[in-house]
Amino acid sequence: MSRADIEQLHSRESAPARAWFMGLAAWLVPGLGHLLQGRWVRGLLLGGAVWLSFLGGLWMGGHLFTVGGNEQGLSALLQLPPMIANLGSGILYIISWVFGVGFADDPAHAARATYEYGNTFLLVAGLLNYLAMLDAFDISAGRKE
């Protein structure tokens, strides 16, 4: 392996601080990580899909998960995986948490016909944004075009 190959390999393995910043930006505001790198179409597509999914989920009456509600023991632990998925939406989740939107846990709310659809959209919004975040990170680190 030549010296140039080793240097290239090293630069691929250690991601620059900028890549971490882009990843963080992409998580915090869906689409921002790509927009900051001048990937307008990509940013609008990814951000648009995540924003639409999240807002659609709230509109359909979906429920956002959090640990530390009324549940105790194992039941509280079961809230953790969906909360991690929801947390992927970044600032959308944080704003909802601050204003208490989507965290209501009453039977009337859950009786809505679109409640489960809303839940799924909210969960998937976060998971899709994790993919977008990794994409922004990889682009900034030079691992992807």
Partner: protein
């Protein structure tokens, strides 16, 4: 009808993200995105018919 629209919206958003992050060229992204969309829709419809006939 509402269920179908929601399923379509879900498939569109998932296909957009999968297509955008998974491939390198615009053509490959479009092809892959369409493939993912069709797969989501087809599997959703097949599963819905299977569940329709289940008695529980």
């Amino acid at each position: 009808m509402r269920h179908f629209l929601v399923m379509t919206a879900f498939a569109v958003m998932a296909a957009v993200v999968f297509g955008t992050v998974a491939k390198d060229t615009p053509r490959a992204r479009l092809t892959y995105g369409l493939k993912v969309f069709v797969e989501f829709m087809a599997i959703g419809l097949v599963l819905s018919w299977i569940l329709y006939f289940l008695p529980f």
